[in-house]
């Protein structure tokens, strides 16, 4: 039955090459922890992606309860944490995932750096990877404000002051982020929410796609 459906689609759209492109490649011995245990360092990139997937899924569920306005944001997080079934686990996954993804991306960066895997022909993939690092730091910064507790509020104030210290365009950057040159308030929360949930994830998906397409085209770097 499933085979017939697949054949029917494949006959019309020729989908086999699409997934074959992804599935059909050989994994060389030097990156396979089954042959050399030290090759576990090659897992860091995949695990980073794994945590990113956890973040996306848990974040999608969080937005079912979260209310991005200053009256209700904190109350909704508290409600989620104390009243909603498994709410504490879902928020916990998103909270700790944010830290774990930083740890994993740090380890992945160090692995690639010390192995010199960014050298020709993989320069562009390294640049995209570092941009991904920036985007994830941005997600961490904007997500920190959303529970609208004291910690979030005051840390964001400092963060915005740092943005303001940029020469020439500092005030403009701050206004763009916070919605107002001086106030950290209702506008700031909705903007950070929009950046955290729409803008940065969109950039993240694009960069991730580029990162993976480049890996598939170039293959993983050889042993040292």
């Amino acid at each position: 039955m499933l085979n017939k459906i697949y054949d029917w689609i494949d006959e019309r759209l020729d989908v086999t090459p699409i997934w074959r492109d992804i599935a059909d490649h050989e994994v060389p011995e030097h990156v396979n922890p089954a042959h050399h245990f030290s090759a576990f360092v090659y897992c860091f990139g995949g695990l980073t992606f794994f945590v990113v997937v956890i973040q996306i899924l848990s974040g999608m569920f969080l937005t079912m309860y979260y209310v991005p306005d200053i009256e209700n944001a904190w109350e909704s997080v508290r409600y989620l944490q104390t009243e909603v079934a498994h709410g504490q686990i879902v928020r916990g996954m998103h909270h700790w995932g944010a830290s774990v993804v930083i740890v994993m991306i740090f380890l992945h960066t160090l692995r690639v750096f010390f192995q010199g895997a960014y050298k020709k022909p993989r320069e562009l993939n390294w640049v995209v990877g570092v941009l991904l690092f920036f985007v994830i730091l941005g997600l961490g910064f904007t997500g920190y404000l959303l529970p609208w507790d004291n910690k979030a509020f005051f840390a964001t104030q400092v963060g915005l002051e740092i943005a303001e210290s940029v020469p020439f365009i500092g005030t403009e950057i701050k206004t763009l982020l916070a919605g107002d040159p001086t106030i950290v308030g209702a506008q700031t929360l909705t903007r950070f929410f929009a950046i955290h949930v729409f803008f940065l994830p969109a950039v993240l998906f694009g960069l991730l796609a580029a990162h993976f397409i480049m890996i598939r085209r170039q293959g993983i770097s050889g042993p040292l």
Partner: protein, 279 residues
Amino acid sequence: MQKGKGMKFVGDSRIKVGPKQTIPKDYSEYPGRTEPFWPNFLLKEWLVGAVFLIGFLCLVAAHPSPLEIKADPNTSGYIPLPDWYFLFLYELLKYEFAAAEYVVIGTIGIPGLAFGALLLAPFLDSKPGRRPTQRPIAVILMLLAVVSVFWLTYESASAVNWEERAEYSVSNMTEVEVDKDHAGYEVYANNCMSCHGDSLQGVPGMAPDLVDLPYDAAAIKDIAQNGIGEMPADMFTGSDEELNQLADFIMTASGGEAAEGEGEGSDSEDSSEGEDSAE
């Protein structure tokens, strides 16, 4: 395979002229035991992911994510603290050469240089040799950067008074059901609420909660008038009757009414015996 501008297509389509290449090159250039990604290697990767997920969920289960009291811009004396992975940048701003009039060095200069170099690493370190020994400058710079990030994070985290911060946590907040119809509530609102919170829960850094106090009513009256510890005298301004109401309110709210509802239930069986005469 033909690449780039000279590539030919069939008609106006995106289909390339020439033999179809759907299967990427194999890794026979690397000596050793290669393995197909699908399905052999993916099954092993799956295992690594599962083990990782178990560890991650243990962390989540062991440590509920923190939440502090609702944002209040008027909280005085609150020391801002970013998430831990920004601490090293935050700590940088405490050094003289990166603070006050030089703050641009700390906020943009040094981080911009470091992250810019990270972004452009392949072009700064462009010789073909990949081994760390073949590119000592890049490796030493990276090691220095990693050590300083760890050091700055450690310095920043060790300067934080975590116990004091825990006072702001919701989980350490005292939850009190307050009877707002009580005669003393209004007295409380007029005299004590600004420091002790709207439901006796206390305000971190200002005044403690007023729940389960080790005092009797007389002592509470005395404290309200004469102060105790950091609490100054004459905080209470009102009549003696109001003072009595206030003391009563605080005593009942902090659990002084637990003596009701005992002694029931034990002899209910005996009493129902002779009463089946409803017909």
